[in-house]
């Protein structure tokens, strides 16, 4: 006899009888702990012997939980899979009755089925179809949102002004602090970073021109749009996504209310209006930050203001603010779209929020590039 386990708890002994029968004797409490200990050894013993029939002596199994039953059933499955017969002797009636709930054929069918995986070309095909469907949805949403926006503007009494003001407060007024802080810091940083190299050439006084122009034309609107994507785009996706999971979007539709008009239009309107206002604050804060550095470098406030006035023309300011309208539309639109695309499950809202922020930032950068080229050709 070959004793595989001899402990006070559960033991397994294996005895080969004339190469015809393999006798497995199990004793003690066959619980999760002991089953884990004996599992590999029991199944390994089956592979290492040649025999026609497995006999399990279970008379001395004192108790048996889910782990023990699984071990006995695994031996049964192994026997069936390898065309061996199996006899189980002496298992207490309550455990034997439980074991009868499970049919080996069904479980073996599962084993053969679970090894099927999706081939790589099919995965590429699925990803392509998903990308195309997402693109179609985006185009459809742009059209739907545009129609709803124009219709609402033509019939302003149908706009939910309370929601518009609520969103304007949350996306706009509540963002004033962070926009001013980041604008100020950006002005401070770019002025300081540019002043040191330009000092070598003795032209550091022109840093104020450079900083003011960069802030008004590019950085102010850009900072505002990025803050908006992080604060409001994500919030829109989370709000609308949660509403979708709670069937509130379905409720709107069944009441004959268009979710785009009801939820998206107020957000688009409010964000489009507040983004340029926030950008103006970012520009002013940035210029103040720039002034602080210039004063610390020994220039007078009068010199700084004169340079800023000569550097910035009204078209510079307008071109920056026009971009803000578009950034506001893009960030809020994609936030709402990702919210409406939310699927089911606990992680769905998180996924939508992430996608809203990422898509918002990507769209803002792409739009910034398009505006740069456009303004170049229009000589603005």
């Amino acid at each position: 006899m070959e004793a595989l386990e001899k402990q006070d708890t559960a033991t397994l002994s294996v005895q080969s009888q004339d190469g015809e029968r393999l006798l497995l004797t199990l004793t003690g409490p066959l619980d999760f702990h002991n089953s884990a200990r004996l599992w590999d050894k029991a199944i390994g013993a089956l592979s290492h012997h040649s025999f026609g029939q497995i006999v399990i002596d279970a008379e001395k199994i004192r108790s048996c939980d889910g782990g023990g039953l699984a071990l006995l059933f695994e031996i049964q499955l192994w026997a069936r899979e390898h065309g061996k017969s199996m006899e189980l002797h002496g298992l207490k009636k309550e455990y034997a009755d439980l074991l009868k709930n499970f049919t080996p054929e069904a479980f073996l069918a599962h084993r053969t089925a679970r090894h099927k995986s999706i081939p790589f070309p099919e995965e590429i095909g699925r990803a392509t179809v998903e990308f195309w469907q997402d693109f179609q949805e985006q185009v459809g949403f742009i059209g739907q949102a545009f129609v709803a926006l124009v219709t609402s503007i033509l019939r302003p009494w149908r706009i939910r002004w309370k929601d518009v003001f609520w969103v304007a407060e949350h996306a706009g007024a509540n963002a004033v602090g962070i926009v001013i802080l980041l604008g100020f810091l950006f002005g401070l940083i770019i002025t300081f970073s540019s002043a040191l190299p330009l000092r070598q050439f003795g032209v550091e006084v022109y840093v104020s021109d450079l900083a003011a122009l960069a802030l008004v034309r590019v950085l102010g609107p850009f900072i505002t749009a990025i803050i908006l994507a992080g604060r409001s785009g994500s919030a829109f996706a989370a709000e609308i996504g949660t509403m979708k999971i709670n069937n509130e979007i379905d409720a709107l539709e069944t009441m004959g209310l268009d979710p785009v008009r009801f939820l998206v239009v107020p957000r688009l309107l409010a964000t489009t209006v507040v983004t340029p206002l926030l950008a103006i604050l970012a520009n002013l804060a940035g210029i103040i930050g720039s002034a602080v550095v210039m004063l610390s470098l020994g220039f007078t406030l009068r010199t700084f203001i004169t340079h800023v006035e000569s550097a910035i023309s009204p078209p510079d300011v307008y071109s920056g603010l026009v971009k803000c309208f578009v950034f506001g539309l893009l960030v809020s639109g994609v936030g709402c779209l990702r919210g409406l695309q939310t699927e089911t499950g606990a992680s769905a809202v998180g996924i939508s929020t992430t996608r809203a922020v990422v898509s918002g930032i990507v769209l803002v950068v792409v739009a910034e590039g398009v505006f740069a080229v456009l303004y170049h050709f229009l000589e603005i």
């Binding site: 999760f32 884990a36 889910g66 709930n101 499970f102 599962h110």
Partner: protein
């Protein structure tokens, strides 16, 4: 432990939310292997009581003994040991949405046993087979009906073979046939595995079908209005709260029905 010994003992438990006392000085026992139901109308403290019994809330006063160990005031190792003896399913199933059914059921095995992965899969599949969901093992919870989610949650709760299973509103939101299937499953598990069930419900057909004993909580008394077998309470004309609950009567309907009014004596609408 024999069937008549108590496996859960709640002693003088008082529970409140902020300044509102929900349950006041309640005591009862649950016996090994029985299906025990906690009944009562909405807002009477059924789920609050359950949350105290499974250690999710600390009571203002009192003790909850699970298999001889006090859940209240237990240190972390002791609490982990007590929690190892119980399984819980919540109203919505509380399956993890990012995992398949098999992964949901396998999770406790991964954390608490040293079984090989193939063995864990087999144990999880066997539990899913018991609740009739083996073939759906690869599905995500969001792809399942409410009844299937609840059955899967039961499979997950019993994967480590706990001595006690707590079920919060198992039949809520289910159609009568699915609800009856769930009742049959509970009875089967109670008889075959000697699991003690504590269910919180207000579904009377389910109570009659499965419960050996019940306690009826009463909002006004902030405590237990009646204890006993469901049929016994249903026929007890001396206990007004039990009579009203089991016969689905509103307020003081029995008192005012002769006057042609229902409600608490206030004129509301006339019956024919």
């Amino acid at each position: 432990m024999s069937r008549n010994e108590s496996i859960i003992r709640v002693e003088h438990l008082t529970a409140s939310y902020d300044d509102t006392v929900i349950l006041e000085d309640i005591s009862f026992e649950v016996r090994q292997g029985e299906v025990f139901a906690i009944l009562g109308g909405s807002g009477c403290g059924k789920s609050t009581l359950l949350r105290h019994m499974i250690g999710l809330r600390e009571p203002d006063q009192g003790h909850v003994w699970i298999d001889g160990e006090d859940m209240i005031g237990a240190d972390e190792p002791q609490k982990t040991r007590i929690l190892g003896k119980i399984g819980v399913t919540f109203q919505g199933g509380a399956l993890f949405g990012s995992m398949t059914l098999l992964e949901n059921v396998r999770l406790p095995l991964e954390e608490y046993t040293a079984l090989p992965k193939a063995a864990m899969d087999l144990v999880a599949l066997m539990k899913l087979e018991l609740v009739g969901l083996r073939e759906a093992h690869h599905r995500m919870p969001s792809e399942l009906s409410g009844g299937m989610q609840k059955r899967a949650a039961i499979a997950r709760a019993m994967v480590l073979d706990p001595a006690i299973l707590f079920l919060d509103e198992p039949s809520a939101g289910l159609d009568p046939i699915t609800s009856a299937e769930l009742d049959r499953l509970m009875l089967q598990l109670a008889r075959q595995l000697s699991v003690t069930f504590v269910i919180v419900t207000h579904e009377l057909p389910s109570v009659y079908a499965v419960a050996d004993r019940v306690i009826l909580l009463d909002k006004e008394r902030r405590g237990i209005a009646a204890t006993g077998a469901p049929a016994q309470l249903r026929d007890d004309k001396t206990n007004r709260a039990a009579w009203q609950f089991f016969h689905r009567q509103i307020g003081d309907q029995s008192m005012h029905i002769k006057e042609g009014r229902i409600g608490n004596g206030k004129p509301s609408f006339r019956t024919k």
